[in-house]
């Protein structure tokens, strides 16, 4: 029996609203006890004691959307480097997209990802499986068998399931097994060949734009199909005010719908593209500041359930290109926590709500047994140095790729220690 005693912490659990000084006892990798008076008589004998020095102890972060590039593009990222980056950023669970090479649309690949994650042993890695074979948007994958093998949801990753008939059937089939369908809500016939938000800046830069409506149109269509099929539906990385409003309305109508956004959509706006900066080229694109503010409000009132890193590592060759030719996406594993905390530091979103979006909410959506400080839960924990100021420095990141528009940004708060199943997998020397 291994026992670890985390003493002198600020226990902070967004799932239950707990916010109290106290201690937490881990026995054999799971939370055995916690509370204000837990170690009043001292740490139990034989337990490894860790002094948390009053810092915030929260459930390990769950990143419900990341691209790990393994198998197939390991020169951009692999599961080992992504795991290191994740735990350095306080993330203990990563859910990866199926847009690898080969595509994760087969039972053997689901098993491969899970086994690799376990072998590396730094963070839990759960795969989404493709919703359609080869992400081609034509034929459904073996959703039932893939779920049995461990796929936590189904998505075509960075591509929308654009054909309404296929989407209906995918939802309907998924509902048979109560599976989650995750959509990249962007109508391709409206977004192509755009590279940034449609509007004044795109016009000035002479770049083809992607209208906000590309997101809203597809999302509204999907919500009607959800109404028809009753399937569990999750919209990924919302970027527009219209989409937030559509989800708000769908939830009001009682549809089984959830959604997430990613830090760039509340921390940046389209002006970041500035002088054709390809590090600010994302999919969906950075939007207007009105959209950005709507995203913040959506997080604050819970319309937006979760925040994902949307980690999209690209090598220099993919980014050092004319804007229209450059790849979309930025890395995010190591900036997720500080940017989420920024919402709270700025007073836009209460701390508990902001942290719920990266812990309890994704756990609930994905049906994972983590994301809360509770007796019996796995001891996947993050100790946060809440106020510590630092400057984002991409060259110090563990991720193999360095494509981030946040390089140099001053932020506040970071993961001082990360534990997976009661084991320390990351610790910052003071």
């Amino acid at each position: 029996m291994t026992r670890v005693a985390l003493a002198n912490a600020r226990l902070f659990d967004p799932a239950t609203g707990r916010d109290t000084p106290g201690g937490l006892l881990i026995v054999d990798g799971r939370i055995a006890d916690l509370g204000p008076a837990l170690f009043a008589d001292g740490v139990p004998e034989g337990a490894e004691a860790i002094d948390c020095a009053g810092r915030l102890l929260v459930p390990g972060l769950i990143d419900m959307r990341a691209q790990l590039r393994e198998p197939g593009n390991e020169h951009q990222e692999n599961m080992a480097t992504a795991s290191q980056a994740a735990v350095a950023g306080g993330i203990t669970t990563i859910v990866c997209l199926p847009n690898t090479d080969p595509v994760i649309d087969d039972v053997a690949l689901v098993e491969f990802v899970r086994r690799r994650g376990r072998d590396i042993g730094l963070a839990h890695i759960h795969p989404y499986a493709a919703a359609t074979k080869g992400l081609a948007g034509k034929e459904l994958t073996e959703m039932g068998l893939l779920a049995e093998a461990g796929a936590v949801g189904f998505t075509d990753g960075t591509r929308a399931i654009a054909n309404a008939g296929i989407m209906r059937r995918a939802l309907s089939y998924a509902r048979t097994f109560d599976l989650l369908l995750v959509q990249h809500p962007e109508e391709p016939t409206l977004s192509h060949p755009g590279g940034m938000n449609e509007g004044e800046i795109a016009t000035r830069l002479g770049l083809p734009g992607i209208p906000a409506m590309a997101e809203v149109v597809l999302l509204e269509r999907d919500l009607r199909l959800v109404e028809l099929t009753g399937a569990r539906y999750h919209a990924a990385h919302l970027s527009t005010a219209g989409a937030v409003e559509a989800i708000r309305d769908a939830k009001r109508r009682g549809l089984p719908v959830t959604c997430d956004t990613a830090p760039p959509y509340f921390a940046l706006n389209e002006t970041a593209v500035g002088d054709y900066r390809t590090f600010a080229k994302l999919s969906p694109p950075l939007r207007s500041d009105g959209d950005r503010r709507a995203i913040v409000a959506g997080i604050a009132d819970g319309t937006i359930d979760a925040i994902a890193s949307d980690h999209a590592p690209h090598d220099q060759d993919s980014k050092r290109l004319p804007f229209s030719s450059a790849a979309s996406g930025i890395i995010g594993l190591e900036t997720l926590l500080p940017l989420v905390l920024e919402l709270a530091h700025q007073g836009d979103v209460p701390l508990a709500r902001a942290l719920a979006a990266v812990t309890a909410a994704p756990a609930g959506i994905l049906g994972l047994d983590c994301g809360r400080l509770a007796v019996g839960a796995p001891a996947d924990l993050t100790l946060i140095d809440l106020d510590r100021p630092w400057r984002i420095a991409v060259d110090r990141f563990r991720s193999k790729s360095k494509n981030s528009p946040f390089d140099g940004r001053p932020v506040q708060g970071r993961a001082a220690m990360t534990m997976l199943g009661g084991r320390v997998v990351h610790r910052v020397a003071d």
Partner: protein, 326 residues
């Protein structure tokens, strides 16, 4: 049984579907079928009640089994049976179907047994002819003789249909057999379930008086009869269900799934079967539980009964017409 009694018990000119038939009418057809079962098992299979009658099997869709069954039925009753296969693809819809009907009508047949790939086409044709029409399967609508032969098969083993729990499993969406069976079983007082992935169920199937399941073990729990349907693999192609192995894993009938049904539960299949797709070979061939062979046998008897009853009705009508004209 006199022809007058027959017309009183099945007072319709055609047999276009199960929908709308009463329990008494269905019972009458099954009772009549029963008489032919022993005749068909004997050495002398030939009767004479359709002597002088002309029966045309008009098939706009390939089907060796059903067509042969109708052909045997007509011949065993002493009728003259003609098979007409019409290449559907070479035929234009609507007007040409009616043209065909008018042409055939001019040859004065007594019964047309019609199969057509479009729902409602048999009804359309029946409106244009003077003879009796039996629906031998129209699109994804009805296949009444299949439901009647299923009912006869069940009744011979279970005594009655009333109160039985029957699970119809598989591709309900594309199945006319399912629709006819749902109507018949409900009318006869059985409890009907359908079990399929959502993509293979039509919208509002629950309004047809069935309980809907998407999990075989739940759907088969405590059932008396398990009716498997053919997965139309040509329609599958990754769109309705992802693959055969996934379908078989979740919805194929094997002993493990069958274990939750009643210990004496019986298995049926309208054929042709896809072994290892919707049904395990061992289960299909289990002589204690599988009724699949008996279904085929009952098919001939049921079609004989239907042909005879309709031919008798036709005689009664003609007599009445002559009477009225006098």
């Amino acid at each position: 049984m006199s022809s007058l009694a027959a017309s009183a018990s099945y007072p319709h000119r055609h047999l276009l579907g199960i929908e709308g038939l009463s329990a008494a009418e269905i019972t009458h057809l099954i009772d009549r079928s029963e008489l032919f079962v022993s005749q068909n098992q004997g050495a002398d299979k030939k009767g004479g009640s359709l002597r002088g009658r002309t029966i045309i099997n008009l098939f706009f869709e390939n089907s060796t089994r059903t067509r042969t069954s109708f052909e045997l039925a007509g011949k065993r009753l002493g009728g003259d049976v003609i098979n007409m296969s019409v290449e559907y693809s070479s035929m234009k819809k609507g007007e040409t179907l009616i043209d065909t009907a008018m042409t055939l009508n001019a040859m004065n047949p007594d019964v047309l047994c019609v199969r057509h790939p479009e729902s409602g086409a048999v009804k359309l044709l029946s409106d244009k002819v003077n003879c009796a029409v039996i629906n031998a399967g129209d699109g994804t609508h009805e296949h009444p003789t299949q439901a009647l032969l299923d009912a006869l098969t069940i009744r011979r083993r279970k005594g009655s249909l009333r109160g039985l729990v029957v699970a119809i499993c598989g591709d309900v969406l594309h199945s006319r057999v399912a629709r006819s069976n749902i109507a018949l079983l409900n009318t006869m007082g059985a409890r009907v379930r359908v079990v399929a992935p959502r993509t293979l169920l039509p919208t509002a199937i629950d309004r047809l008086g069935v309980e809907v399941f998407h999990d075989m073990k739940r759907g088969l729990a405590d059932t008396d009869i398990v009716m498997m349907l053919r997965l139309q693999t040509e329609r599958m192609a990754g769109s309705f269900v992802p693959s055969i192995r996934e379908y078989y894993h979740f919805f194929g009938l094997d002993y493990a799934k069958l274990a939750v049904a009643k210990p004496d539960a019986l298995i049926m299949h309208p054929g042709p079967m896809n072994r290892g797709v919707e049904i395990d070979s061992e289960v299909a061939d289990d002589i204690d539980r599988s009724l699949i062979r008996q279904q085929v046998e009952m098919g001939v008897a049921v079609r004989m009964a239907c042909l005879e009853v309709l031919a008798e009705n036709l005689t009664t009508r003609n007599a009445a017409a002559v009477e009225a004209g006098r």
